[in-house]
């Protein structure tokens, strides 16, 4: 790995960034095709429901498969390490959420950990409910009255997370520098020290 630019520290590996952007791309493809299927006015506008449905279904399968492939073929151990980092909350993380001290944060703050955990859960639920919708159309054994509701509720919940995420990554002045980390991999050292004081950057 290159030593990196002076004054900058490495935050995300290539694999992590690929996972993030493939995840974003897949999400928007499914959001777009899903809204056409979901909103009556858009359905009327676009027509071609069977085609849109195929794109939505196979796009969803491809989305999940691509993420699994990238994680397996890329820096697998790094991804697992990151997953563990996200899973575990330390005392400072709980304090960060409840606005107590000390609350110095590591590479991820508690909000980012929650966002990641919820998004991962939503993906599993989107996948299961989507597969049930698809299979239920062919076989009554897979049909539950609440499958559509679950799929819809996930849409609203993940839109709420997405809006918060976009605000913090693109607009909010003190946090939007994080976007650089997800695009180029590194962030300013002083920014890292200020927002992620307990993050061991390896320097």
């Amino acid at each position: 790995m290159n030593p990196g630019r002076p004054g900058y520290v490495r935050r995300f590996s290539r694999t992590e960034r690929a996972i993030h952007w493939v995840n974003a791309l897949g999400f928007f493809l499914l959001l777009f095709t899903g809204l056409i299927l979901y909103l009556p006015r858009l359905s009327a506008e676009f027509g071609r429901r069977p085609l849109i449905k195929d794109i939505h279904f196979w796009g969803g399968i491809g989305w999940v498969a691509a993420l699994v492939l990238i994680a397996m073929l890329g820096d697998r151990h790094g991804v697992l390490r990151t997953a563990r980092e996200i899973e575990v909350f330390e005392r400072e993380d709980v304090n960060w959420l409840t606005r107590r001290k000390p609350r110095e944060q590591g590479r991820f703050n508690a909000g980012q950990k929650l966002n990641a955990a919820l998004n991962a859960a939503f993906m599993v639920l989107f996948l299961v409910s989507g597969l049930l919708l698809w299979a239920g159309e062919k076989d009554t054994r897979f049909r539950f009255v609440s499958t559509v509701l679950l799929h819809d509720a996930l849409l609203y919940a993940s839109l709420a997370l997405l809006l918060g995420h976009l605000y913090l990554a693109l607009i909010h002045p003190t946090t939007r520098h994080a976007l650089r980390g997800m695009v180029r991999g590194d962030v300013r050292e002083d920014w890292a020290r200020q927002h992620h004081a307990r993050w061991d950057t390896g320097d």
Binding site: P40, V88, E90, F122, F144, S146, A153
Partner: protein, 225 residues
């Protein structure tokens, strides 16, 4: 060090809660849906109105032209006929408020329909004694479905041209659709172009894929309550 697997807990609890909602979601939703859908409509008119979803099977939705549109009534009748849109609307009219159930689980309450009962619609054509079912051919090829005459004569079955006080929108089957609240939506054929009297019900579009011919709400297609 004080470490707690809260992230993992949030992930697992969300997955578990979501999966279990397959069993309780609909009941919970019917409890809270009224205030929510009222609020949702107030803030965003683009949201699916009262929970309608538009299911179609063709590559485009049929376009209604009031000048050229005709409803054909044929098959086992004494007088095969074609009705124009205004002729159809001159028939005896009825209004009703009923619930619309989709077999995939969503439901729309309190839909206001206006249209003609099948008894009045078919009177002039004169069904012959051998006719025991109606074949509804949709302008959306290849959608077709059937009702027995008995089912079509249910007190709240109709061929509707108005929904919630307005002419049927394109996505709801303009200009006319079947309304039979006792049965799931796939029996409520949209964009009806042709009604044929036939000796017995055939196999409809979704029925060919394994759905029940008699789509009674709550007691068909694997549902029991």
């Amino acid at each position: 060090m004080d470490e707690r697997p809260i992230g993992r807990g949030v992930f697992l609890a969300t997955v578990a809660g979501g999966l279990s909602s397959l069993l309780w979601g609909k009941a919970a939703w019917s409890y809270v849906s009224n205030p929510i859908s009222r609020a949702a409509q107030a803030i965003a008119p683009i949201l699916p109105s009262q929970g309608w979803r538009i299911y179609t099977v063709g590559s485009s939705m049929p376009v209604f032209d009031p000048v050229t549109w005709r409803l054909k009534i044929g098959g086992l009748v004494d007088n095969p006929m074609e009705l124009g849109y205004l002729e159809l609307r001159a028939l005896p009219q009825h209004s009703q408020v009923s619930v619309f159930h989709c077999v995939t689980g969503w439901t729309v309450d309190g839909v206001r329909w206006r249209g003609v009962r099948f008894k009045d619609l078919l009177a002039a054509a004169g069904p012959r004694p051998g006719a025991h079912a109606l074949e509804f051919v949709s302008a959306e090829y290849p959608y077709v479905d059937y009702l027995t005459i008995e089912q079509a004569m249910l007190h709240d079955a109709m061929l509707a041209w108005e929904m919630d006080g307005k002419p049927l929108l394109q996505e709801h089957g303009a200009p006319v659709r079947v309304v039979i609240p006792e049965m799931y939506g796939y029996k409520n054929v949209k964009w009806v172009a042709e009604i044929n009297l036939v000796p017995k019900p055939g196999i409809g579009y979704w029925e060919a894929g394994g759905y029940d011919n008699d789509a009674w709400v709550g007691r068909s297609n694997g549902y029991t309550s």
